[in-house]
Amino acid sequence: MPIKTVYKAQVEYMQILDENGKLDEKLAKDTLTDEEVLSLYEQMTVCRQLDEVAFRLQRSGRMGTYPQNKGQEAAAAGMGFAAKKGVDWLVPCYRENLALNMHGLPYHYVLLHWMGDERGNKIPEGVYVNPIAIPIGTQMLHATGIAWAFKLRKEPRVAVTFFGDGATSEGDFHEAMNFASVMQAPVVFFCQNNQWAISVPREIQMNSETVAQKAIAYGMPTIQVDGNDLFAVYKAAKEAVERARAGGGPSFIEAVTYRLGDHTTADDARRYRDPQELEAWMGRDPILRLRKYLTGKGVWDDAKQAKLEERAKTIVQEIVKTAEGIEKPTTDDIFDFTYATLPAELERQKSTMRTSSLGQDPAQAGLRDMGTATHGHSAT
């Protein structure tokens, strides 16, 4: 037989809670309890509120560029909840605020970061979250490295890395996936496929039917789930985390979702997106669908909703107050945190910065110290 099939593969899609709030009871079995769903619903609502407020803060000049999470809360919640807080490590990009918060990072850190204060990435002790990664895809390799270390140390821990559909076009994606697969590192690659890499739609980014199928090339278990479905995300995430913890190596999850907001506050998606597409996805909103589900179960009503919304506002107000109340960084910080120990040349620039707007003016930066001030025309 001169020609034969040497490899065959397929990709499964899973949805448990549909957009009308109808649950597939069989698939939902042993996933989330009612209390857990309620708690996650509340957290998603707070996260959404934070997002809205952050957007307004940026518009009024109180925050730098901010990427909204809107529409992707179920993905962050499901993955974040499946990973074990205080044990597993989250290695984020920048659109999973809720997952970071669930693992112990106070929200005002996230705001602080986007307000332009690097101390927002100074993670509190005992919180296993990496700094937010802005270059696209680089954090996937960090996750693989961390996971590999867990394996070498025989620690039953898992690294979870978040990235978007756009990041799978980067070389880092291939290298991280290949390494993780070769080393059988306990890492979960969690792709939030929100359909858009800034203004480039998914079908122009890649010619593959799914993102999930890319993992097949690395011999990695892979699945596509409805990313706006908390149950499906959680179920897939839990399986992947447990497999990794049990020594089963890396897994890939494609959470199909949608970026309801702009790429960042520096973007205006109306210029390139079909309003009908946006509207269709509004109907699949992960928070809305949970509300329908909870209401249908009789554990939620309008009065509870109104109370929750009020509470979310208060919580977010407090977060903003905390973030804005932190003393602004001084110019010393930009020198102090460049090297572990301040080099002499930076020490000079640092002291000049404090006393003069001239910054690196050579006369100020060095001449006096070099003992040449008395020689010739040097300014002193």
């Binding site: 680089t138 960090h142 693989t144 270390a149 290949n178 390494f179 572990a340 070099m370």
Partner: protein
């Protein structure tokens, strides 16, 4: 006995890594062919036997990959040594080594440091063609947050590499494939060499001379040859081996200039926005009035590195070009 011990440059590098690895369990070496094959240039020969595959790690051809994983390891408290077979290959890892390693500490408000050493062969001279002959010091020294070390001899290579491994910041350690076989005195006793301290290799701090030659890495040796040749004609030189580019010991440059009044910087990079340009700029900023002639640069020519042996030799800095530059500063040419 120890005073006469001479070893190769590659052995000095190996000793530095092995001694540090015996001292500190957090250190590991990762790169292409570093383990089973004993290193593409035999720098890590025998290290797999001593330290085992958990600490001497063969990687797939994936520079961005192992650079990135090394960075994560460093952030979490390990002390990785990442070998690039050639620094030319580091270009594909630029996002990791330039955009992550040197910014991690700053971007986390001082929390996530990155104590990692990237090392490998840098520079032309081995007929490796244009794509494999990069001198990355010109490119990378523009980036704050990194330290750049570029030794010219086995003694410095060992002492500086030990310091690099112990350093809490990312260090780019640039070796030269052309020098790995060079032999030099390396004592058996432990020593380290601090960063940011240039070494005066010809001349004396308290003796005036005709010209200061500033260089780093392999071209330091060309400067020494040139200085010896010039001495036969009665022309005296200070030869200052910078040893590290970041930090850059400008104090020593100015100190020497005060004894000579003339400056020639010899740099194997391309001239445009090179380290030589930086040395001259800072000299003008700090000590302009000590200059009796405009400072000169001897760089490689501003073209892709030629493949042909004779053309490559013509393109690089060499003794003849250096002698010419020194004489020009003295008005002799």
């Amino acid at each position: 006995m120890t005073a006469t011990r001479e070893i190769q440059f590659r052995e000095a590098l190996r000793e530095a890594m092995s001694e540090e690895m015996r001292r500190d369990e957090r250190i590991f070496l990762i790169g292409e062919e570093v383990a089973q094959y004993n290193g593409a240039y035999k720098v890590s020969q025998g290290m797999l036997d001593e330290f085992g595959p958990k600490r001497i790690i063969d990687s797939p051809i994936s520079e961005n990959g192992f650079a990135g994983m090394g960075i994560a390891a460093a952030m979490y408290g390990l002390r990785p040594i990442v070998e690039f077979m050639s620094w030319s290959f580091s270009l594909v890892a630029a996002d990791q080594i330039l955009n992550n390693a040197p910014k991690m500490l700053y971007m986390s408000g001082g929390q996530w440091g990155c104590p990692i050493v990237f090392r490998g062969n840098d520079g032309a001279g081995g007929q490796l063609g244009s794509t494999h002959s990069w001198c990355v010091e010109g490119l990378y020294s523009n980036v704050p947050g990194v330290k750049i070390v570029i030794p010219s001899n086995p003694y410095d290579a060992k002492g500086l590499l030990k310091t690099a491994i112990r350093d809490d910041d990312p260090v780019f350690f640039l070796e030269s494939e052309r020098m790995l076989g060079d032999k030099g005195h390396v004592p058996e006793e432990e020593y380290t060499i601090p960063f940011g301290q240039a070494e005066l290799r010809r001349g004396s701090w308290d003796q005036p001379a005709d010209c200061t030659l500033v260089s780093f890495g392999r071209p330091v040796n060309f400067c020494l040859d040139a200085a010896d040749e010039l001495l036969k004609e009665g022309i005296t030189c200070h030869v200052l081996d910078m040893r590290t580019i970041r930090p850059l010991d400008m104090e020593s440059v100015v100190r020497s200039l005060k004894q000579t009044g003339r400056l020639v910087v010899v740099d194997q990079c391309w001239p445009f926005a090179s380290v030589a340009s930086e040395v001259i700029t800072q000299t003008c900023e700090r000590a302009f009035d000590y200059l009796d002639h405009q400072p000169l640069r001897v760089n490689s020519d501003d073209v892709p590195t030629p493949y042909a042996k004779a053309l490559e030799a013509a393109y690089l800095p060499n003794k003849g070009k250096i002698i010419g530059a020194v004489k020009k500063t003295m008005g002799l040419l």
